[in-house]
Amino acid sequence: MTWLPAGTVYGTLLNQRSEYEALAPHMHDAPYKAPPRAPVLYVKTANTFNPDGGAIALPAQVPEVEVGATVGLVMGAAGQVQGCVLLNDVSVPHASLFRPPVKFKCLDGFLGIGSGVRNVDPASVQIEVRVNGDLRQTVRFDALVRDPGQLLAAVGEFMTLGEGDVLMLGCDAARPRARAGDRIELRSAALGRLGHTLVAEAA
């Protein structure tokens, strides 16, 4: 059965240590001028939801995308985490993190969604990213900038995550890229598999 988020899906920037450290030497430069003080979040809108097995259509002006393997914390009642879901937070590659990434992250079909919510410890999750069968990245969640508890507390300081909302723990640096014709597969012992095929959008 297909599972889709009932609430708003939030992504978290710079929560993987390697991603943070790669940018750290430039955080005091323009336009950022300072490291972020609070979690930097973005929204993956409902038009991006794309269940396992679907195609991801790349518009003509998007020659390749980044694969963003991550874990989504699915919120239950009363601020509790109901479980975790495997997600592929697909992005159009973009260098600047100054403005909200709507046109890079909110294209139709740009959020691969695992087939179900599982009650696992996110720190134990590893995700293998394969493109056309080749292992391209292994993502772990045991050494985040903010671990799930810290992230939930820091986000909860300024907004409520309610039942059905999803909070992603962040994507690792060196995200693999893929293009039309490629087959992307995420594999996790704890969270299952999630596969999509990239196709060129019909003109």
Binding site: G7, A34, V40, L41, A46, T48, P100, F158, M159, T160
Partner: protein, 250 residues
């Protein structure tokens, strides 16, 4: 027609404005003050997409010391940011500058994908008024305006009414103004938008499909001032209504 969604005697129901009162779905005619107002939106089957524009009036861009953008500066909200007419919005302790933003808001009426500018009006259900509060203290230059500034619980009042598209002859020529405790502090006109409504529908639908009930908040002109606990803030747009909100400290 002006549509509302309200709680009356414990039940949520639709209502329409009639002769300065509310005609509820259950047939009762009640004063505007007799209900608790919700955002004038029907529930949707999927999470609602809420797009909001920054710097979409040249004077506001100047006021905030930015040059006018070359393409829309857009950010997103979750539905928990929304609030109803006559409700309160919290000003966090220790904040130096929290300001309202009176915004013409478009409610999408049909699935919109790759819509051409000339067809854009057909995809609109109607219009309402938003007050998109910002807490300037929390601005950081990461995905700015960041969600800590703009996605706070209940910090985006919407309403009072959803006004049908056909009842707004020219949405690109509506006077808008804000009063704080009765004093006019912001005054503008939707004709001064940098990116007008048909442009925005064409632009967003070029890369994302919009669904009925999705929202576009179109930005605010200059004249934003700090709002303190106890202040009564009314954002008003010609023909759409006056959206009242109070600032609370808790």
């Amino acid at each position: 027609m002006k549509h509302a969604r309200v709680i009356h005697q414990g039940s949520v129901q639709r209502a329409i404005e009639r002769d300065g009162q509310l005609l509820l779905a259950d047939g009762q005619l009640v004063p505007l003050e007799a209900v608790t107002w919700l955002p004038p939106l029907e529930p949707v089957p999927r999470p609602r997409t809420i797009l909001a524009l920054g710097l979409n009036y040249a004077d506001h861009a100047r006021e905030l010391a930015f040059k006018a953008p070359e393409e829309p500066l857009v950010f997103l909200k979750g539905e928990r940011a929304l609030n109803g007419h006559r409700q309160a919005t919290r000003r966090p302790a220790g904040v130096e500058f929290m300001h309202y933003e009176c915004e013409l808001t478009v409610v999408i009426g049909r699935t919109a994908k790759k819509v051409r500018r000339d067809d854009a009006w057909d995809f609109i259900a109607g219009y309402t008024v938003a007050n998109d509060y910002a807490i300037r203290d929390y601005l950081e230059n990461w995905y700015r305006p960041n969600l800590r500034v703009k996605n706070r619980d209940g910090a985006t009042p919407l309403g009072p009414f959803l006004v049908d598209r056909g009842d707004v002859p020219d949405p690109m020529a509506l006077a808008l103004r804000t009063t704080v405790n009765g004093q006019v502090t912001q005054s503008g006109n939707t004709k001064d938008m940098i990116f007008d409504v048909p442009f925005l529908i064409e632009y967003f639908s070029s890369f994302m499909t919009l669904q009925p009930g999705d929202l576009i908040l179109t930005g605010t002109p200059d004249g934003v001032v700090d709002c303190r606990p106890g202040d009564v803030v009314v954002t008003e747009i010609e023909g759409l209504g006056a959206l009242m909100n109070t600032i609370s400290s808790t």
